[in-house]
C-alpha cells in the first residue's frame, strides 16, 4: 500500500501538467537547460516547468549568471583559441629551477643536494657546475643528470663548506618565518587539493619525511640584488683541454660582465645565474621551482592529467614536470579571466583591452620569479639586464598569496601599462609564439576572417617585403601590419622590449660596409629592412606605428573594427544554434549586432536575445511538423 502511494505521488508530481506544453516547448526547455545549466533537466525541473506559474523570462534571467552559463560562454573562446600550451613547449629556466642530485653522504647513505645548472661559484673546481667537485663526491655531472665517475662518500667538511640546510617553500606553509614549523601534511593540513609535491620532494632517499633539504650554498643566498662578477680569467685557446677534475672548461667572463664588474644586478634576472656569485633563490628558495632530478625538465608536482569539467573536477593525477605546472596555471589565468568577463557581464572588448587579470598562488609565484628568468641574456647588449617594463609588473601582485594557494584567485586591477587582455598573457604568447601567428589568430578569432590566398602561385622572388612579394602579398599585406603590433614582444616569450632601450630605428644597429648588423643586434633588428644609417626592429617594417602601439594598439584596433562586434555575435550565435551562420541569418546577425553594441558589448543581453530568437527555438527542426505556410 505504501509503495503504491509512493508511486502515485511520484507519478502525480511528474504528470502535474496543468499547463499544456507542446513537444516544442519541452524541447526548447531541454535545450535551454543544456546550454545554461550544462546538463539535461531533472524531473523536478520539468515539473516546475510544467506549472502554470512558470515564467520563461524569469527562468532565463536566473540562469544567465550561474557557473553553467559562465562555463558555456568561456568555452566558445577557449575552443577557438585553444589556450593550453602543448608538450612541445618546455619552461624550466636554469635560473629559476632547482635540480636535484643524489650524492653519497658522509655516513655512506644517499643524500640529495639541490643546485642550479650553470651557477657561477668562487671555486674554480665547481664554477658553473654542481657545487661539489669530483674529488669530493667521486663524479661529475655530464648533462641532464647523467653522471661520470663513481660516487663516494662526501666528507662532512666538504658538505658543510659547499651546501647549507634550508626549509624550503614547498614543504612549509610559514616558509617566510625565521624558523618554519608548519610542515606539509603534518602541522600544515588544510592544503589545497591541487597542491601536491611529488613523493620524491616530500621524502628523503630513505623514505622518511623530509624536514630540511641540502642546497648548494650559492643557490641558498637570499638577497634580491647581487653584483656582477668577473673572474678575470682569460678565455682559453680553442682546443685547450678542461682543467683537471672538470668535464668542461671554466666559464669565461662575458664581455658585459668584464665591462660592468662590480655593478649591481637583480637576482631575479636570468643573467644573475651566469654573472654573479652572490645571487640565489631567495629566502626559503622562494624564487625557484624544485625538481626531482637533474633532467632538462624535472618532475615536481602531481597534477590532474585531464580536466574536462574544469580544475574542480580533475581526472586522475600523475607526477608532472616543472613546465607542466607553469603551463597549467597559464591556461587557468585565461579561463578565469574570460570567466570574470562573462560572469560579471563586463564589456567584452575587455577580453582584448583589459589591463586587469586574475591570479592565484602559483601564478603570483610565477610572475614574481620564473617569469623574469626569460630575460635578459641576449638583451644585455642593449643594457637591458632585467625586464624594465614587464607585461605583468610583479610589484602589483599581492604579498599574501603563496605558491600553494591554488584555489585563491585574486583580482589584479592593473597588470601594467603594456597589458592588454588575453594578448599579453603567457599562455597566448607561447601558444602563438610568432608575431604572425599572434596576428593571424586574432584576425580569425575576433574578426571572423581567414587568410586564404586567391592565387596559388608563388613565383620565386628575392623581395623581402611580403606585402610586395608576388603570391604572398594577398595575405601578408593585411597580416604583416597586424603582426607588427607584436614587434615589441619577443617571439616565444613575453619579454617586452621598451622603446628607450630598443628604438624602432636604431643607429647603433646600422649595417656595416659588409652589409651586416652588429652581432648583438641580429636577434632584434632585421637586416632585410636596415640600412647604413639605422637598423629596424624585427617585425616593424610593415608599420612602425603599429610596432610602437604594441599589443595594446592591436587590442584597440581590433575592438574598433566594425567586424569585431558582428564577429563576437556570430561566434556566440553559432555556438548556441549549433551551426555556422549563413546569409539566411543576416537579418538576425544585424539585429543582434545592433543590440550588442547598444548594450555596451555585454554578453548577457546578447545571449538572452539569441536564446529568445525564433532561430534558437527552431534549431533542431528537421521534422515535418514544422512545415509552414508560405
Amino acid at each position: 500500500m505504501r509503495r503504491a502511494l509512493a508511486l502515485a505521488f511520484v507519478l502525480a508530481a511528474a504528470n502535474a501538467a496543468a499547463a499544456p506544453r507542446t513537444l516544442d516547448d519541452y524541447r526548447h526547455f531541454r535545450a535551454l537547460s543544456i546550454d545554461l545549466i550544462g546538463r539535461a533537466p531533472t524531473r523536478a525541473e520539468l515539473a516546475a516547468f510544467e506549472r502554470d506559474d512558470f515564467d520563461w523570462d524569469k527562468w532565463l534571467d536566473s540562469h544567465l549568471t550561474g557557473p553553467g552559463y559562465v562555463d558555456r560562454l568561456t568555452r566558445v573562446w577557449m575552443d577557438l583559441l585553444r589556450l593550453e600550451v602543448g608538450p612541445a613547449v618546455t619552461f624550466a629556466p636554469p635560473s629559476a629551477t632547482l635540480r636535484r642530485q643524489a650524492i653519497t653522504g658522509p655516513d655512506g647513505k644517499p643524500l640529495n643536494v639541490y643546485y642550479r645548472q650553470g651557477q657561477r661559484r668562487m671555486r674554480d673546481a665547481t664554477d658553473g657546475e654542481f657545487c661539489l667537485s669530483e674529488s669530493e663526491v667521486g663524479f661529475q655531472i655530464v648533462q641532464n643528470g647523467q653522471l661520470k665517475g663513481t660516487p663516494k662518500p662526501v666528507s662532512q667538511t666538504a658538505l658543510d663548506a659547499s651546501t647549507v640546510v634550508v626549509r624550503p617553500w614547498w614543504l612549509y606553509r610559514d616558509y617566510l618565518s625565521s624558523r618554519p614549523t608548519l610542515r606539509l601534511k603534518e602541522q600544515w593540513t588544510d592544503v589545497d587539493p591541487l597542491y601536491q609535491p611529488i613523493d620524491e620532494l616530500l621524502n628523503d632517499p630513505s623514505g622518511k619525511p623530509t624536514e630540511e633539504i641540502r642546497v648548494c650554498r650559492e643557490e641558498a643566498q637570499t638577497s634580491d640584488q647581487g653584483t656582477i662578477h668577473a673572474s678575470g680569467r682569460a678565455r682559453p685557446a680553442p682546443g685547450t683541454p678542461p682543467p683537471e677534475g672538470r668535464l668542461r672548461p671554466l666559464p669565461a667572463d662575458d664581455g658585459y660582465a668584464i665591462k660592468h664588474a662590480g655593478e649591481p644586478i637583480s637576482c631575479r634576472s636570468s643573467l644573475a645565474l651566469n654573472m654573479s656569485v652572490d645571487c640565489g633563490c631567495g629566502l626559503a628558495l622562494q624564487y625557484c621551482m624544485p625538481g626531482e632530478s637533474g633532467g632538462n625538465d624535472p618532475r615536481a608536482f602531481s597534477l590532474p592529467t585531464r580536466t574536462p569539467l574544469g580544475l574542480d573536477q580533475p581526472i586522475g593525477s600523475a607526477p608532472q614536470t616543472v613546465s607542466y605546472w607553469h603551463k597549467l596555471w597559464w591556461s587557468q589565468e585565461a579561463i578565469h579571466f574570460l570567466g570574470y568577463i562573462v560572469g560579471n557581464d563586463r564589456d567584452f572588448r575587455e577580453a582584448l583591452t583589459a589591463r586587469y587579470s586574475l591570479v592565484n598562488g602559483p601564478l603570483a609565484h610565477f610572475y614574481k620569479s620564473s617569469s623574469a628568468a626569460s630575460c635578459c641574456s641576449r638583451e644585455k647588449g642593449f643594457n637591458m639586464v632585467q625586464e624594465t617594463e614587464p607585461l605583468f609588473d610583479p610589484a602589483r601582485l599581492p604579498n599574501d598569496l603563496f605558491p600553494s594557494d591554488t584555489r585563491a584567485w585574486r583580482f589584479i586591477p592593473d597588470r601594467g601599462p603594456h597589458a592588454a587582455g588575453l594578448l599579453t598573457m603567457p599562455v597566448f604568447l607561447t601558444k602563438y609564439a610568432s608575431r604572425r601567428a599572434r596576428g593571424a589568430v586574432l584576425y580569425n578569432a575576433f574578426l571572423c576572417k581567414s587568410f586564404v590566398s586567391p592565387t596559388g602561385e608563388l613565383p620565386p622572388s628575392p623581395e623581402p617585403n611580403l606585402m610586395l612579394r608576388p603570391g604572398c602579398a594577398n595575405c601578408h599585406s593585411t597580416l604583416e601590419p597586424l603582426a607588427a603590433y607584436f614587434a615589441r614582444v619577443e617571439e616565444t616569450e613575453w619579454v617586452y622590449l621598451p622603446s628607450w632601450q630598443f628604438p624602432l630605428k636604431n643607429p647603433l644597429c646600422k649595417k656595416n660596409q659588409q652589409g651586416k648588423l652588429p652581432g648583438y643586434c641580429e636577434p632584434f633588428y632585421d637586416p632585410a629592412f636596415s640600412d647604413g644609417a639605422q637598423g629596424l626592429l624585427r617585425g616593424a617594417y610593415a608599420s612602425v606605428d603599429h610596432a610602437e602601439a604594441g599589443p595594446g594598439g592591436a587590442a584597440a584596433a581590433l575592438v574598433a573594427d566594425p567586424q569585431f562586434a558582428s564577429c563576437t555575435v556570430e561566434r556566440v550565435a553559432a555556438s548556441f544554434l549549433g551551426r555556422p551562420l549563413t546569409t539566411d541569418d543576416s537579418a538576425l546577425l544585424q539585429s543582434l549586432t545592433r543590440g550588442f553594441v547598444q548594450d555596451g558589448y555585454r554578453l548577457k543581453p546578447l545571449v538572452r536575445a539569441v536564446l529568445r530568437s525564433p532561430q534558437y527555438r527552431s534549431s533542431n527542426n528537421v521534422r515535418s511538423s514544422v512545415w509552414r505556410a508560405p
Binding site: 531533472t42 581526472i315 551551426r579 534549431s619 509552414r628
Partner: protein, 223 residues
C-alpha cells in the same frame, strides 16, 4: 555478323541524332476555392545539435547521483568486478572533448567510436541504477523512481515508462511519436522472457534494457 553490326551502328547513330521528342504542355487548372492552400516548406532545416560532451558528462553524473566525475566513475565501476566501466580518461576523447593542449578540436558530429562509448556508458549507468534504485527507499531512487511490479500490464508499464522518458528525453511519453510506448513494452517483455540467469533478475534486466534504449536514444544524445 558484320552486316548486323553495321546496321546496329547506323540505327544507334540515327536514334541519337534525332531531335528530342517534344511533350506539349498540358492544360493547367486552378484549385477549387474550397481547397486548402498547399503548404510549402520554406523554413530553414537545421539538423539536431550533438549534446556537448560537458553536458553529456554532467547529465551522466546527475543521473548517477554523483557530485564529482570520480564519484560517478566509482559508482559505475562498482565492486563486483563486472568491468562495466573503465576510466573517464579512456572515454573523454571519444565523447568529443577537445584537447587544446594537443590542438585536437571538439567533435561536433558523432562517429562510430563515439556511439560505442555512448553505448558502454549507457549500459554501465542503467545496470548500476537498477542494482541501486530497486534496493533503495523510494525517496532515494534517482532513475527508477517507481515500484517494479511483476507481472505488469501495458498501462502500468506506460506509467513507469513515462518516469524514465521524462528523465532521459525531457518530455512526457504521451508526446512521443506513436508506437514508442508499445515498442518499449515489447522490449521489456522480450527481455524479461528471454533473460538468462545473471546477477540481475528478469525484471531488473528488463527495466535496464528500457533504460539503455532511452539513454542511447538519438533524442537523448542530440538537442
Amino acid at each position: 555478323m558484320r552486316r548486323v553490326l553495321v546496321l546496329m551502328c547506323f540505327s544507334m547513330c540515327f536514334s541519337a541524332c534525332r531531335p528530342p521528342a517534344l511533350i506539349p504542355p498540358g492544360a493547367t487548372s486552378q484549385l477549387p476555392p474550397s481547397h486548402p492552400p498547399i503548404l510549402v516548406d520554406v523554413a530553414p532545416k537545421e539538423a539536431p545539435r550533438l549534446l556537448p560532451a560537458e553536458a553529456y558528462v554532467r547529465t551522466y553524473m546527475q543521473l548517477f547521483g554523483a557530485q564529482t566525475l570520480l564519484e560517478a566513475q566509482q559508482k559505475a565501476k562498482g565492486k563486483d568486478g563486472n568491468q562495466l566501466f573503465d576510466n573517464w580518461g579512456d572515454y573523454l576523447t571519444t565523447l568529443g572533448f577537445p584537447d587544446h593542449r594537443n590542438d585536437l578540436p571538439r567533435a561536433r558530429e558523432t562517429n562510430a567510436l563515439m556511439i560505442a562509448t555512448f553505448e558502454r556508458l549507457g549500459i554501465a549507468l542503467c545496470d548500476r541504477a537498477v542494482e541501486r534504485d530497486f534496493h533503495a527507499p523510494m525517496a532515494q531512487r534517482i532513475i527508477f523512481a517507481f515500484d517494479p511490479i511483476d507481472p505488469i500490464d501495458s498501462s502500468q508499464f506506460a506509467e513507469r515508462f513515462d518516469v524514465l522518458h521524462r528523465t532521459f528525453l525531457g518530455y512526457p511519453s504521451k508526446l512521443a511519436p506513436p508506437g514508442r510506448i508499445d515498442r518499449y513494452y515489447k522490449l521489456y517483455k522480450d527481455t524479461q522472457t528471454k533473460h538468462a540467469k545473471t546477477r540481475l533478475s528478469p525484471t531488473e534486466a528488463a527495466w535496464s534494457a528500457v533504460c539503455q534504449g532511452l539513454i542511447r536514444h538519438p533524442e537523448f544524445l542530440l538537442y
